[in-house]
Amino acid sequence: MTHTVLVVEDEEELREMMRDALELNGYAVVAAREGQEALDAIGRIEQLCLVLLDLLMPGMNGWEFFAKMRALPALAGVPVVVHSSVTDGVPEGVTRVLQKPFALDRLLSIVGEYCEK
């Protein structure tokens, strides 16, 4: 079964471009514009392989979302890659950090490490 990537990004063009890039390369994508929307969606994703998380977002930010997600036992082991303009103050325990602007092949390479098509 195709793995699903959760993309949490407030800026619409980038969020939809990431969705296109991943879907065109064979992955299933669920996209959310901020942390609360992502939390609401995350329980409905069956094969969640990776969360691509922005930090600076209106509503629930990336730090808060990460803390709440890690507190859920079922999701505690899901890898989280932060994609952000800031690399300082990244929450402890995230799997890795992908600094914006990132190249498509770099994104696909990282997603490929955690997700199956």
Partner: protein
């Protein structure tokens, strides 16, 4: 008969001279505190002569009219008056009060009367003696008061003479200078002989004199008693000073105006200090404003740098996605356009990174580095290889043995990419760029050399300043940028504890020398890092 009786009292005093003087001395000794510790001679000062003068006065024939004049103090001073005056002066200078002087004579009179009465004489005969005593008392009071007034005047004169910071002088009722003190001489430059008798308008600027200011000031002081103002005054040499001036009207007890006391203080130094303080305050305010503007600009750049990353990421990803499409990748024109978009994206990404590095170094107190064991030769090889691909027509020579050390690899790549890239961009095309790295003790040295016109002295001085490129240097397609590269390189090297030096001459070409300690003291960065 009257003459005989009077002579009897005079004789009596003469006969009891010493006893009377002893009583005078005993009484004078009680007049404290002035009499404390006084010798017998000083306690009896003039008493002997006064007593003799009294006797002489008593023995001088005197008409009723003369007696009346004497009681009113209208008679010319005789020997007793002169002696009484001298005695009063000396006693006052020794610290006796006027009341004590009077008491001294009252005690003398009491002594004589008591001795005289003890021997059964008629007290009525003492009238002449009493009048003599009254004269001595009058002289005592007058002499004592004069001495006191003389002392006060002397003290006041001393005070005025000792004042150097104020011009204190008297004007007559028409404004002519009557007195002059050293302070006035110092402040205004005139000596006393030069200025006494002159009208005080010489101290005022000509236009103020012409406007009648001097007369107005005297009128105001006369009418209101006092006038105080600050204004310009003129010294003898014509120079001006800023003065505080007080003019006080002087009047006799009856109210007649006799002149003015004028006190002038030179406030030039204070005024200059105040002016300097105002300038300093204005400069500080301007500096603070400039700092605030600069901080705003840098924060603006920081926000801009962050926010530009999202659309840039989106554009770059879109370009890469298009290139994945077989129909587009197979079309040479489309592929060429997408290749140019990629170049532009990279340049924009580099500029954003430079802006963020600038704001980190300026707002965050220096660039952060994350040192780890690495090899400088490996870093240089990688950089030179990349630049050879990017500049296939240029010769880049690298001389480097293995140079292990602890540095931030990514940051040093940034430094040498910038410096070697600059050497290529600004070097003569047919001459090689050489990169030579060597170890010197605990320090490594990398010389990046090119053959190029020398860097002008004024540009060399600000080579490592941000935005140095400004309008002074032409921008070409391959040098276009923010002028931040060397600034950031310098910050990175400084964060490693190293330095960048530049030597540039028409004979030797230009060499950028980077020195780095092999081990940077900063502990490795512990946070997750960007990729």
């Amino acid at each position: 008969v009257e003459e005989v009786v009077l002579l009897n009292l005079a004789d009596f005093i003469r006969n009891h001279h010493e006893a009377i003087l002893r009583e005078w001395e005993s009484f004078a000794r009680t007049l404290l505190p002035a009499a404390e510790g006084m010798s017998q001679v000083r306690l009896r000062h003039h008493a002997d002569e006064i007593l003799t003068a009294i006797v002489g006065d008593m023995e001088t024939p005197q008409t009723e009219a003369e007696r009346a004049e004497k009681s009113k103090g209208l008679r010319e001073r005789g020997p007793l008056g002169v002696l009484g005056g001298i005695h009063a002066t000396l006693r006052t200078e020794s610290g006796f009060e006027v009341s004590q002087l009077v008491a001294e004579y009252r005690a003398l009179r009491a002594s004589v009367f008591r001795l005289w009465g003890n021997e059964g004489h008629d007290l009525a005969e003492a009238i002449r003696f009493n009048e003599a005593i009254v004269e001595a008392v009058a002289e005592a009071v007058a002499g004592g008061m004069e001495t006191r007034l003389g002392e006060s005047e002397a003290h006041f004169r001393l005070l005025v003479e000792s004042v150097k910071d104020y011009a204190i002088f008297i004007l007559d009722e028409r404004g002519r200078v009557r007195t002059w003190n050293p302070g006035a001489a110092r402040i205004k430059g005139y000596t006393a002989p030069e200025i006494i008798g002159k009208h005080f308008s010489v101290f005022y600027p000509p236009d103020e004199v012409a406007s009648g200011k001097c007369d107005r000031e005297l009128e105001t002081a006369s009418r209101e008693g006092r006038l105080e103002e600050e204004g310009w005054r003129v010294r003898k040499d014509g120079s001006c000073f800023w003065a505080n001036v007080t003019i006080t009207a002087l009047r006799k007890p009856g109210g007649t105006l006799i002149g003015f006391a004028k006190v002038t203080q030179d406030l030039t130094a204070r005024r200059e200090t105040e002016a300097k303080l105002r300038i300093v305050a204005a400069e500080k305010a301007a500096l603070a404003e400039r700092a605030a503007i600069q901080e705003f600009q840098e924060r603006f750049l920081a926000v801009l740098g962050h926010d530009l990353r999202n659309p840039l990421a989106s554009m770059e990803m879109g370009r890469a996605l298009l290139l994945q499409r077989p129909t587009i990748a197979g079309d040479p024109a489309s592929a060429r356009v997408l290749g140019r978009m990629e170049t532009s994206s990279r340049r924009m990404a580099l500029m954003i990174e430079q802006i963020l590095d600038l704001t980190r170094s300026r707002l965050g107190g220096g660039l952060e580095i994350r040192p780890a064991p690495t090899n400088l030769c490996t870093i240089l090889n990688g950089i030179v290889d990349e630049l050879r691909i990017a500049h296939p027509t240029r010769a880049i020579e690298l001389r480097c043995a293995s140079l292990p050390g602890t540095w931030d690899k990514d940051r040093l790549e940034q430094v040498f990419s910038n410096i070697v890239g600059n050497a290529i961009d600004h070097g003569v095309a047919d001459k090689p760029v050489t990169v030579e790295a060597s170890l010197e003790g605990t320090t490594v040295r990398v010389d990046v050399h090119n053959e190029a016109p020398p860097i002008p002295e004024d540009l060399r001085a600000k080579l490592f300043s941000p935005f140095r490129r400004g309008n002074q240097e032409s921008r070409t397609s391959h040098t276009a940028g923010l002028g931040l590269g060397l600034y950031i390189s310098n910050e990175i090297v400084a964060a490693h504890g190293g330095a960048i030096d530049v030597h540039s001459s028409s004979v030797e070409g230009t060499t950028f020398r980077v020195t780095l300690p092999r081990s940077t003291g900063t502990p490795p960065y512990s946070k997750a890092r960007g990729e």
